[in-house]
């Protein structure tokens, strides 16, 4: 047992950090720190910088543009990226559909899609959830009917994150209505510009538009856009969801936020002195830091385990990551609300042009608090995570 990073790993951390300092556009970083939404251009610009460096799809196999890093290097990269902070690669392309394509797709599909995912030439979105299929995803109803060399797709997806930017969608569609619910699903990809695709934005309680409803009316899709085998889509979906075990804890994000809270709490006054001098506040902050330290260690245990024994058999501790990671993220946004106090109330009166530094930091704190309620709901709600632990780990 040894907690220390090797010299090489420490040097790698320094290299990554330096690259971010030199290459993340300052305004992008500022908006991240303030919890603002980034424009499509800002995100794509940064991802292309990352891809040019060869780090855009770091965890892919080398032959498809990956880095061949160790699991510890991936961990360090992610932590530095999250805590710098800079936008993480677009998960829908890089972490979700990319691995499905290089694992189950044919050569033609790999050639066609993978380089464009890496360079974000195509912005991908995820067509999984439906109005009637949230946690019970396998009950989905969107239909794809074979008609000659085409699929005809009808139905509706929802909670489709950033679909307003998307060029492509990967979609779970029911292709065998007679089969048992998990068995008749296929994994089909197609252009969001196809005739019959309609995107309707959903405004969330933070006032932003991150998610959308997507409607399909007789959308015609070439048959060869099927990934893998017909009616095996559920297996690919499970593969996709199980792929990203450690990033979900978002330890780096919470670390960055806690540093920011400590910094702000030294400046904002309460009772005539900085709020950090208030013992009750300080203890709440310490409590959150301790929880995060424990989570970081749990994550390192999982990372070290994967590095040594491969990703085949997940460490049972990995199921802790989503639950604790989301709870801690939410706590950090609560602490920020506490720091800001009555100035939580004003709606974004200053705009987000960075011109009013004195007050800009306050604008997004309440929205960020509201927005972060989502993290215990998405990616398999925390209640679903508890079901998984009960069944898969405890055998209940």
């Amino acid at each position: 047992m040894d907690l220390a990073f090797t010299k090489e790993e420490q040097a790698f951390r320094e290299e990554v950090r330096q690259f971010f300092r030199d290459n993340v556009p300052p305004d992008t970083r500022r908006k991240m720190v303030e919890g603002r939404h980034l424009s499509k251009d800002e995100m794509v610009t940064w991802w292309r910088i990352l891809n040019k460096k060869g780090w855009g799809v770091s965890h892919w196999p080398k032959q498809y543009g990956g880095t061949g890093w160790t699991s510890v290097q991936h961990y360090i990269f992610n932590e530095e990226l999250q805590s710098y902070p800079a936008p993480q690669p677009l998960a829908f392309g890089v972490s979700m559909v990319g691995p499905v394509i290089y694992t189950f797709g044919n050569e033609e599909q790999k050639k066609q899609y993978l380089p464009r995912i890496a360079n974000v030439d195509d912005w991908w979105c995820q067509g999984f959830s439906e109005p009637g299929s949230g946690s019970d995803l396998a009950s989905l109803k969107t239909k794809a009917e074979r008609k000659g060399d085409k699929w005809i797709i009808n139905g509706q997806k929802t909670w489709t994150t950033l679909a307003q930017h998307a060029d492509m969608i990967f979609c779970l569609c029911r292709t065998d209505p007679g089969a048992k619910k998990q068995m008749g699903i296929s994994f089909i990809v197609f252009s969001m510009k196809s005739k019959g695709v309609t995107v309707r934005p959903i405004q969330t309680i933070d006032g932003g538009v991150e998610v959308n409803e997507v409607f399909f009316d007789d959308v015609e899709v070439p048959y060869e856009n099927l990934i893998g085998e017909e009616n095996k889509g559920w297996d690919y979906a499970k593969f996709l969801l199980g792929n990203e075990r450690t990033g979900i804890a978002r330890v780096g994000v919470s670390k960055e936020r806690l540093r920011r809270i400590r910094d702000l709490a030294g400046k904002v006054e309460s009772g005539g002195k900085p709020i950090i001098q208030d013992a009750a506040f300080r203890e709440k902050l310490a409590a959150c830091e301790i929880e995060l330290k424990a989570l970081e260690l749990t994550q390192l245990r999982v990372v070290a385990d994967e590095g040594k024994h491969g990703k085949g058999k997940p460490n049972p501790a990995s199921s802790v990551l989503k639950i604790k990671g989301s709870e801690i993220q939410q706590t950090t946004t609560e602490l920020l609300m506490e720091v800001i106090g009555p100035f939580a109330a004003p709606y974004d009166v200053h705009g987000d042009d960075g011109s009013n530094e004195a007050m800009d930091w306050t604008a997004q704190i309440a929205p960020s608090y509201f927005n972060n309620r989502k993290v215990s709901i998405y990616g398999g709600s925390n209640e679903i995570q508890r079901n998984i632990i009960a069944k898969a780990v405890l055998g209940l």
Binding site: M1, D2, L285, R301, A317, V393, L394
Partner: protein, 380 residues
């Protein structure tokens, strides 16, 4: 970075788990409780035979040169089996003082007896009003000739009844809460002026309140600097905290396992109660709490070797907070999920709960350590 045990550590784990599986089930434990002092000399000698009592001592001192990870393995196993024997008092704390501050002569006088199981120790530190502050010492040690005279009262001294030697903290100068002026002394338990009132503790261990009245000891009884040993005390108590964290992890593992087995077999409304989602989620939360505790126990074990004393203490305090929160949740919910049977002395789960509960209040509770982390500038 590596969280796996090496080959030797795996063997150590197998050997202690094996020994305790054979000789420490719940029924056997009940018998040991009735023996003199409340624990089994026979088991103690078995631990000695396997070299476990000599584990942390250097080879030069006749031990095996084990480090923090080895102690963690042993303490986890002792927790899992709810062991009564005074490993913490004798090997971790007593041994810790001797390893860090003992002269060659002191080590020669005490270590062989610890290793072969013939002698046990006890740490007489707590005072009526000191609570968790290690520097809050009213017991005095006054110079007399070459030696010292000790006067004072110590409370809840674990293994105080049986110990051959007491390790006593006493003030050689200054006021009650001064950080300097504290010494550590090896006092023979049968020295003139030592009186003991023994009693069982809530968790089935044994402790004693000890009064020292004009106890005279020689110059060879001083461990370290008699006027400035707070750092030594903090170092050894940090090691005790780390050991308690590991013991608690073992206790939580067994509590969770026992609880999950119970809810799989206990039937109500015609089905196993473990099929109810509210109970499943509670058990899942217990698992999360236990895993977070395990992570911090490992962190504390590694932090024990940090060179910077402040970083070490801060990290170990953080671990004690996590363990305190986790053990309270796991312990309480284990009783809850057992229902009525969990309330009885007959079922083993309550005994685990009681030991866990006492660990929270040993060497600083959750609030105490959380305040230390908060006042120490945080962890991130």
């Amino acid at each position: 970075m590596d969280f796996d045990l090496n080959e030797e550590q795996r063997l150590l784990k197998e050997s202690i788990d094996g020994l305790l599986t054979d000789s420490y089930d719940f029924e056997q434990r009940k018998k040991y409780m009735k023996e003199k002092g409340g624990w089994s000399k026979t088991v103690w000698l078995k631990l000695a035979e396997q070299g476990l009592l000599g584990l942390p001592f250097s080879e030069a001192d006749g031990g095996f040169g084990g480090g923090g990870v080895e102690t963690m393995i042993v303490m986890e196993a002792l927790g899992k089996a709810l062991v009564l024997e005074p490993y913490l008092a004798t090997v971790v704390i007593g041994g810790g003082f001797l390893r860090h501050a003992g002269t060659d002569a002191q080590k020669a006088a005490h270590v062989p007896g610890i290793i072969d199981g013939s002698k046990t120790l006890a740490f007489a530190q707590l005072e009526k009003n000191s609570r968790y502050d290690l520097f809050d010492v009213s017991t005095t040690a006054k110079k007399k000739g070459d030696g010292w005279v000790i006067d004072g009262e110590k409370f809840v001294v674990l293994n105080g009844e049986n110990a051959d030697t007491l390790i006593v903290t006493a003030r050689t100068k200054g006021e009650r809460r001064d950080r300097n002026g504290i010494g550590v002394f090896l006092v023979p338990a049968n020295a003139k002026g030592v009186t003991k009132k023994s009693y069982p503790t809530q968790d089935g261990l044994h402790a004693a309140d000890i009064t020292l009245t004009g106890v005279e000891i020689g110059p060879d009884a001083v461990l370290g600097n008699p006027e400035d040993s707070l750092a030594l005390i903090e170092r050894v108590v940090d090691e005790a905290r780390v050991a308690l964290c590991a013991e608690a992890v073992g206790l939580m593992d067994e509590s969770l396992k026992t609880t999950v087995e119970y809810i799989k077999t206990r039937k109500q409304f015609g089905v196993a109660i473990g099929s109810f989602q509210s109970l499943q989620h509670r058990a899942s939360d217990m698992f999360v709490a236990a895993e977070q505790a395990r992570s911090m126990s490992m962190f504390a074990t590694m932090a024990n070797d940090f060179e910077n004393a402040k970083e070490r203490s801060n990290a170990i305090a953080a671990a004690k907070v996590q363990i305190g929160k986790s053990l309270k949740f796991v312990g309480q919910q284990a009783i809850q999920l057992h229902g009525g049977i969990g309330m009885t002395m007959e079922a083993k789960i309550g005994h685990y709960f009681k030991r866990l509960t006492m660990i929270e209040n040993s060497f600083g509770d959750t609030d105490y350590h959380q305040r230390r982390v908060a006042d120490g500038g945080g962890l991130i």
